[in-house]
C-alpha cells in the first residue's frame, strides 16, 4: 500500500480534526460527516479485497444492506410493545413474527448478527466460487448479479422485510435518542472510533504475513500455489472480512440515516462504492477514506444544484481516474511526492524507494 510519508504522522492531524469536528460543525453537517465515515469503513474493506487481493467485487451493497437490516430489525422490534408486530407486517397480513426475526429482539444477538450473518453468507458464497477457481471478470459479474438478486428479493418479500419502503421509524438504541443533536454527536464518536479501529486492524493485517500472501496471490496466483499455498482460504477470508466491514458500515449508516431500504443494495450503489475507492486510490487506506469524503461531499453539493450535470461529472471523472490514475488520488500524491524528493536531492532515497516497492 502506498502509505505516503506525509501520512506517517499525518494521522495525528487527521484524527485531531475528526475529534474537533463536533465542535465545529452544525448538527446536520456532523450527521452527514458521520454517514460518510460509516461508508469509509466499507471502503476500507474494498481496499482489502480489491486493492490487496486484486478481486473486484460489484456486490458490496449486499453486505452494506445486511448490516443495515440487522440493526434496523432490532430497532424496529425495540420500538414496539412486547408481542406487537411491526406496522408493515400487520398490513401485509402477517399474524406472527417470522422465526428469523425473533433473535433480533435481543440487542446482543442483533449486534452479533451484524458480523456473523454477512461473514457466513460471504464465506459460503466465496468458498463456492473461489474453490472452482472462478476469478477476475467472472467473479465481478457474478457479484453484480448477487446485488441485483438480493435487492429484488428484499423488495419482493414485503410482508417480512418492509419491501421497497425498507425499515424506518426508529426511536432509540441503548437509551440513545436517534436523530437528536446529542444522538448525532454520540453516534459520530462511535463511528469515528470504529473507523479508527478497523483502519488500524486492516493496516496491521496488510503488513502481516497474511497480507503478503494475499498480494502474492493477486500478482501470480499459480506461482503461489506452486509454492505450496492453498490460496482459496486466503481469498475467502479477505472477501468475508470486506463483507463484515461493509456490514458494520451499513449498520452505522442506518443509524445515522434513520432508514434502511433496498435502495442501498442494488447494482448502481454497489458500483458507486467502487467509484469512491477508485477515486481515492485502491491501494491506500487513506486514499479510500478521502475518496469517500470527496465523492460524497461533491455529490451532496453538485446533485442538488445541477442534478443533470452530476452523472456526466461522475462518469467522466471515473473514466479518467481509471484510465490515467489507476492508483487514484493517493497514487497521484505519491507520484508528486516522489518527484519532489528526487528533485530535492534528498538523502532519504532508501526510505522512499522502500515505500515504492511496497506499493507494487
Amino acid at each position: 500500500m502506498t502509505d505516503h510519508p506525509i501520512f506517517k504522522h499525518g494521522w495525528i492531524v487527521v484524527l485531531a480534526v475528526g475529534i474537533c469536528a463536533p465542535a465545529l460543525l452544525s448538527s446536520y453537517d456532523l450527521n452527514l460527516l458521520g454517514r460518510f465515515l460509516a461508508m469509509a469503513i466499507l471502503a476500507i474493506g474494498i481496499v482489502l479485497i480489491w486493492g490487496e487481493a486484486g478481486i473486484l467485487t460489484l456486490g458490496q451493497g449486499v453486505f452494506f444492506g445486511m448490516g443495515g437490516y440487522c440493526i434496523a430489525m432490532y430497532l424496529k422490534l425495540s420500538s414496539l410493545e412486547a408481542g406487537a408486530l411491526p406496522d408493515f407486517m400487520e398490513w401485509s397480513g402477517v399474524s406472527a413474527l417470522p422465526w428469523w426475526w425473533v433473535p433480533f429482539a435481543n440487542p446482543v444477538l442483533a449486534l452479533l448478527a451484524i458480523i456473523v450473518v454477512p461473514a457466513v453468507f460471504s464465506g459460503v458464497f466465496a468458498w463456492l466460487v473461489f474453490r472452482r477457481r472462478i476469478v477476475g471478470v467472472y467473479f465481478a459479474l457474478i457479484t453484480q448479479a448477487v446485488a441485483l438478486t438480493f435487492a429484488t428479493l428484499l423488495t419482493s418479500q414485503q410482508n417480512t422485510t418492509g419491501g421497497y419502503n425498507g425499515l424506518t421509524g426508529f426511536q432509540t438504541i441503548f437509551g440513545l435518542e436517534l436523530g437528536t443533536t446529542d444522538g448525532n454527536r454520540t453516534l459520530y464518536w462511535v463511528t469515528l472510533a470504529i473507523l479508527a479501529l478497523v483502519f488500524a486492524a486492516t493496516r496491521w493485517l496488510i503488513g502481516s504475513r497474511y497480507g503478503t500472501v494475499l498480494r502474492a496471490t493477486r500478482d501470480g496466483e499459480n506461482r503461489v500455489r506452486f509454492l505450496g499455498y492453498n490460496t482459496t482460504p486466503y481469498k475467502v477470508v479477505a472477501f468475508a472480512l470486506s463483507a463484515v466491514f461493509a456490514a458494520i458500515g451499513g449498520a452505522l449508516f442506518t443509524l445515522h440515516a434513520g432508514v434502511v431500504s433496498p435502495a442501498f443494495v442494488g447494482v448502481v450503489p454497489s458500483i458507486e462504492m467502487i467509484v469512491w475507492v477508485a477515486v481515492g486510490g485502491r491501494h491506500s487506506l487513506w486514499g479510500a477514506i478521502s475518496g469517500v469524503l470527496i465523492v460524497n461531499f461533491a455529490k451532496d453539493m453538485i446533485s442538488s444544484a445541477l442534478p443533470e450535470a452530476w452523472l456526466y461529472v461522475l462518469g467522466l471523472v471515473f473514466i479518467l481516474v481509471v484510465m490515467f490514475l489507476p492508483n487514484g488520488l493517493a497514487g497521484l500524491v505519491d507520484d508528486l511526492w516522489q518527484k519532489y524528493r528526487t528533485r530535492d536531492g534528498s538523502n532519504d532515497m532508501a526510505g522512499s524507494t522502500g515505500a515504492l516497492e511496497e506499493s507494487k
Binding site: S26, S27, Y28, N31, L32, R35, D87, F88, E90, W91, S92, G93, T152, T155, S156, Q158, G163, Y164, N165, G166, T168, G169, F170, E177, G179, T180, T181, D182, G183, F253, A257, G258, V259, S261, A263, F264, S303, S304, P307, E308, W310, L311
Partner: protein, 398 residues
C-alpha cells in the same frame, strides 16, 4: 419527548417558526423536496414545477400575510435516505416553516420520523396505500378508498365479475390489491389471478400467459413507470385486446399516456381524482398557465395538481391561523375550504383530503373522457375498515 428535543424545538421556533420573531417584510422559507435525479425524476420534476408555480403566483399576489415566500429546492435523488437527509437539512439549516414534497411511499416513510421529531409539517401530493396517520403530514393524494375502491365499485356496477391484479412489486400495489381482494371476497366475486413484476421489469410473457388462461373480465393494473409500456405492448402482441379485456390503471396519467404512445393504451381506463379534462374555468386557467411556462404540449396530471393545491392550502391555513406555527397551521387546515382547479376541497380531521373520485377512458388524443364520478366528496379513510377493522386514525388528541 426528552429535554434535548425540546431544546431543538425551542431553538427552531426562535429562529424561524415563531411569529413574533418575524419582521413584517422578512421572507419566509419553505422547502420543496422532490427527486430531480434518478428513476423518479421523470414524475417528480413535474410536481416540483407545479409547486414552484404556486409559490411564484402567491408571491406575485403579495405573499402570505405580507411575507414573500422563498422556496428552498432540494433533490431527493430517488433515494429514501437522501430524502431523510435533505428534509433534515431543510429544517435545521434553512429554517423552513413547512415542506412540500415526496412521491414514493419509501421517501415519505423515511421523512416521517424527521418531521415528527422536529415537529415540522410535510405536504404530500401523491395517491398512496394508506395505513399511515401522522400529525406531521398533510396527505392530499388519494387514500385507497378515494381511488382504487371507487374504481372497483364502478367495475362491479358494470357487471365485472372476475378480476386479474397486475402490479409492480412494491408497497402500493401489494397493499392496494390486498384491500381489493378483501372486497372481491366480501362481494362474492372472483379473483382470476394476482401477479407482481419487479420495478422496471420488462418481461411479461408468463404473466400474460396466465391472463390468457384465466380470461378475466377486467385487469386492475398497478404497474409503475416503464413496465406499463412493456405490459401493454406484450398484451397487444399476445392478441389480448383492450376491448375484450379492459384494463383499469392506477398509475397512468396524461403524462404517461403521452409518453407510451396513445395508440397503445387508447380505450383503457384510469382512476384519479383529477383529469386534465375536468370542466371549469379555474382548471382551464391552471392548464394554460402551466403550458405557458413549460411548453404547449406539457401534460398536467393528478399528482401535479395536488402539489399545486398543497401550497394554496398551506397559505389558506397560515392566514386562517394568523401564524406560521406548525401546530396552529395544522389545526387551521382542517375543514378549511380551499378553492383549487379541481373545485373547492378541504382536509378532514385525519389530515387527508376530501375529494371526488373519477373514472376516465383514454381517447385518441391522449386525454381522458370522464365516464363516472363519485357522488360528491369521499371522506378519506387511511385504514380500510373491511381489511383493517381494528385500526383508525384519530389525530384530534395529538
Amino acid at each position: 419527548m426528552t429535554t434535548s428535543t425540546r431544546y431543538v424545538l425551542a431553538a427552531g421556533m426562535a429562529f424561524g417558526l415563531g411569529q413574533a420573531a418575524l419582521a413584517q417584510d422578512e421572507t419566509v422559507n419553505v422547502g420543496v423536496l422532490q427527486s430531480l435525479s434518478g428513476t423518479m425524476a421523470i414524475s417528480e420534476v413535474t410536481v416540483k414545477n407545479a409547486e414552484i408555480m404556486a409559490i411564484d403566483e402567491i408571491n406575485a399576489a403579495g405573499g402570505v400575510m405580507g411575507h414573500q415566500i422563498k422556496a428552498v429546492i432540494e433533490d431527493g435523488a430517488s433515494d429514501p435516505a437522501i430524502f431523510a437527509q435533505k428534509a433534515t437539512k431543510l429544517i435545521q439549516n434553512d429554517d423552513v416553516v413547512t415542506v412540500f414534497g415526496g412521491w414514493t411511499s419509501a421517501s415519505r416513510k423515511a421523512m416521517l420520523p424527521v418531521f415528527e421529531r422536529a415537529d415540522n409539517l410535510l405536504w404530500y401530493p401523491v395517491q398512496f396505500e394508506g395505513n399511515e396517520c401522522s400529525a406531521n403530514i398533510m396527505y392530499s393524494g388519494a387514500q385507497p378508498n378515494q381511488q382504487i375502491l371507487p374504481a372497483y365499485t364502478w367495475a362491479k356496477d358494470q357487471g365485472k365479475e372476475s378480476y386479474f391484479l397486475v402490479g409492480s412489486d412494491y408497497v402500493f400495489p401489494r397493499t392496494a390489491n390486498m384491500i381489493v381482494k378483501k372486497h372481491i371476497d366480501e362481494d362474492g366475486l372472483s379473483l382470476a389471478g394476482e401477479e407482481y413484476v419487479p420495478l422496471g421489469g420488462t418481461d411479461f410473457s408468463a404473466v400474460i400467459a396466465k391472463i390468457r388462461a384465466a380470461q378475466p373480465d377486467i385487469i386492475f393494473n398497478t404497474l409503475n413507470g416503464d413496465s406499463n409500456v412493456s405490459f401493454f405492448k406484450q398484451l397487444a402482441s399476445a392478441g389480448i385486446s383492450i376491448e375484450d379485456t379492459p384494463v383499469m390503471s392506477f398509475s397512468i396519467g396524461e403524462q404517461e399516456a403521452q409518453a407510451m404512445g396513445v395508440s397503445l393504451v387508447e380505450g383503457s381506463y384510469a382512476a384519479w381524482n383529477y383529469f386534465e379534462t375536468l370542466p371549469g374555468e379555474a382548471n382551464e386557467a391552471f392548464i394554460a398557465q402551466y403550458r405557458d411556462a413549460y411548453g404547449a404540449n406539457a401534460a398536467v396530471t393528478d399528482p401535479m395538481l395536488h402539489g399545486y393545491l398543497n401550497v394554496y392550502a398551506w397559505k389558506a391555513a397560515v392566514e386562517a391561523a394568523g401564524a406560521f406555527d406548525v401546530d396552529e397551521v395544522r389545526a387551521a387546515a382542517v375543514d378549511l375550504d380551499v378553492d383549487t382547479p379541481m373545485g373547492t376541497v378541504s382536509f378532514a380531521p385525519n389530515q387527508s383530503l376530501r375529494q371526488t373520485a373519477y373514472v376516465g377512458e383514454l381517447n385518441e388524443s391522449g386525454k381522458f373522457d370522464i365516464l363516472w364520478q363519485s357522488e360528491g366528496m369521499i371522506e378519506p379513510q387511511p385504514y380500510d375498515p373491511l381489511t383493517f377493522p381494528n385500526k383508525s386514525c384519530d389525530l384530534s388528541a395529538g
